[in-house]
């Protein structure tokens, strides 16, 4: 498009790659630092020494560390990360297969929580009578304090056990059966969005209340809009900016919640595999999965920062000025 956007994307891409590299080093190092010998971690500390020796050969654990590291990172590009020790499955294949469900859950929740926050926050600002403001505050506090996995169980009880409208778990791929897929995602997405939506709603409400007093709302009205029309057309876009900021900060929480809820609803995503791997002491699987999830967060951060730069032209200009100044 134009130079400003290109420089923005370029800068964000560099941050992305640098963070990814550092992240991979940290994951690689932390496991070995805390756990010591990889083979013993997998087999158990009091395993048969011969089995340990054989495993070290098999996994190439006798090679120098930097070689192991490069080999591992390279595996992401070549598509070969090895096989799980006890599970026997191909790690790379599993990761690819499970990206879909996790992304659907995470992005779905992000979208839903943003839309929910914009709707509820705007409504509450436009109708800022005492009562509704206080009610929203109380509900927000409750939503924030509620563990997502408990909310999930409550939702399952209400909608699956009692009402029978939605499935209690499981997952249908989007390509197979779109309607069924969405049905299976309603409860998990609802549980995941709840807490983050509550936080975003407060920001939207506060931003909208500020915006309602801005002069440019009056200008829009002077052109022929009603107050509500002016707020929606001009305000919403400007209220979206703090929402994007907050969403960026909540990304870590979002993925964490996705990991937990995949296990509650038995969704075959990265989080589910991660827990299974942790329980099975599959060090290499955990290592790779952790890095992949980290990459998802970094990638979402990347997109968010670009969205932010697009929404508020002043920010991109300021950043550019700061970079040259």
């Amino acid at each position: 498009m134009n130079l400003r956007i290109l420089t923005l994307i370029g800068r964000e891409a560099i941050t992305l790659i640098a963070s990814a590299l550092i992240g991979s080093l940290v994951v690689f190092g932390l496991l070995r630092l805390l756990g010591g010998d990889v083979a013993l971690m997998i087999l158990g500390q009091d395993a048969d020494p011969d089995a340990a020796i054989a495993l070290r050969e098999q996994l190439g654990l006798n090679r120098p560390l930097h070689v192991q590291y490069l080999d591992w990172i390279g595996g992401f590009l070549t598509g070969d990360l090895g096989k799980a020790y006890s599970g026997g499955y191909d790690i790379f294949d599993q990761i690819v297969a499970r990206m879909g469900p996790t992304s659907l859950l995470a992005f779905g929740s992000l979208l839903v929580s943003i839309l929910l926050a914009l709707a509820v926050g705007t409504y509450s600002a436009l109708n800022a009578r005492r009562a509704s403001g206080a009610v929203i505050d109380v509900l927000s506090q409750l939503a924030i304090a509620m563990p997502s996995f408990w909310a999930a169980l409550l939702l399952v009880y209400l909608f699956a056990v009692i009402l029978g409208w939605l499935p209690a778990g499981g997952y249908v791929p989007l390509t197979e059966d779109p309607a069924g897929s969405l049905r299976s995602l309603v409860l998990p997405v609802a549980a995941l969005s709840l807490s983050s939506a509550a936080v975003k709603t407060r920001f939207v409400r506060s931003a909208m209340l500020d915006i309602m007093n801005e002069d440019y709302i009056r200008t829009a009205m002077a052109k022929g809009r009603t107050f509500g029309g002016a707020v929606l057309r001009h305000g919403l876009r400007n209220a979206a900016i703090p929402v994007v900021t907050i969403s960026t900060l909540q990304l870590g929480q979002l993925l964490a919640g996705a990991i937990v809820l995949e296990n509650v609803f038995v969704i075959p995503g990265l989080g589910r595999l991660l827990l299974v791997a942790v329980n099975g002491r599959e060090v290499i699987v955990v290592q790779s999965l952790t890095f992949v999830i980290l990459m998802i967060i970094l990638a979402m951060n990347f997109l968010m920062d670009i969205a932010y730069g697009l929404l508020d032209p002043r920010i991109a200009d300021k950043k550019a000025a700061a970079a040259h100044g």
Partner: protein, 289 residues
């Protein structure tokens, strides 16, 4: 003349009204702590006792006010004992993380511009990493259990504590009398402890309360996933986990532990909010985790 009197009155701090959040939060926290402490002396039933004949009793059954789980353990007892675990893990982890994180934050605030920007960036990245991920990695390397939980939560919270400290510490360091002290020859450590810490103290107290809340939530999540407290240690998260398969048969099992978590987290959150309004509404900006 009247205007002058008005001006003078406005510069004095207005009478401190106790915010409702502080009261409600305080009550809830006291309740949770009280229950946890009480559990050391008395519980309705012996926590380890399995009443096999009364398995899955519904709430209101005589002798078991909140019912029993599938092994026949009294739910009320389990919840009381579970409070101990949640508080223990959360408080220990938070205190550790605050100590280390604050030091890190102070170091960053006092560092030269280049070092500072690198450290601050690192802190930001640290904040962005989901703690559950860290915990899962640690649980792979170490044995699952409360210790692993604590270590994981500490690593998770250190960047948060650091980030909260950096801004206010920088502000205090920029104050005239502090610059004077430094110019006068006072060592950095001296300045930090004598001048900076007391001034950011109220921020740290508020942050501690909020982090206790997050810690409880984190411990519950880890126990729920099975990598935190291991049986037979009672933990709200673990009780919730065991309740899940029984959801159609005995839904009340998941109700009470979840409610306990909700109240404890709500309590600490409100306490933090209340303290923030009460102590100094202008200076404190708490980062939620």
């Amino acid at each position: 003349m009247a205007e002058i009197a008005q001006d003078v009155a406005a510069t004095h701090a207005p009478a401190r009204r106790i915010p409702p959040a502080l009261v409600i939060g305080g009550v809830l926290v006291a309740l949770v702590v009280g229950v946890a402490l009480l559990s050391f002396f008395w519980t309705p039933q012996d926590p380890a006792r399995l009443n096999v004949r009364s398995r899955l009793a519904p709430p209101g059954t005589p002798g078991f006010p909140l019912g029993t789980d599938r092994l026949g353990r009294d739910m009320l007892t389990q919840i009381m004992v579970g409070a101990r675990n949640s508080l223990y893990v959360s408080i220990v982890a938070t205190v550790f993380a605050l100590c280390v994180g604050t030091v890190l934050g102070l170091l960053t605030a006092a560092a030269g511009p280049r070092t500072q920007s690198v450290l601050a960036r690192a802190v930001d990245v640290g904040v962005a990493i989901p703690g559950i991920l860290v915990a899962l990695v640690i649980a792979t390397a170490l044995e699952p259990g409360n210790t692993a939980s604590i270590i994981a939560i500490v690593i998770w919270f250190i960047p948060l504590a650091a980030r909260v400290t950096i801004g206010p510490a920088k502000q205090v360091l920029a104050l005239d009398f502090v610059e004077a002290a430094l110019a006068y020859g006072r060592g950095n450590a001296f300045v930090m402890t004598r001048h900076v810490l007391p001034n950011i103290g109220s921020i740290l107290i508020v942050q501690a309360s909020v982090m206790f809340a997050s810690g409880i939530l984190a411990e519950a999540a880890l126990s729920f996933l099975g990598i935190g407290a291991q049986p037979p240690t009672a933990s709200w998260g673990r009780i919730l986990k065991e309740a899940q398969p029984m959801i159609d048969v005995a839904p009340s099992l998941m109700l009470f532990p979840g409610l306990a978590i909700l109240l404890a987290v709500l309590g600490f959150n409100l306490l933090g909010d209340g303290l923030r309004s009460y102590l100094d509404p202008r200076q404190i900006a708490v980062q939620g985790s």
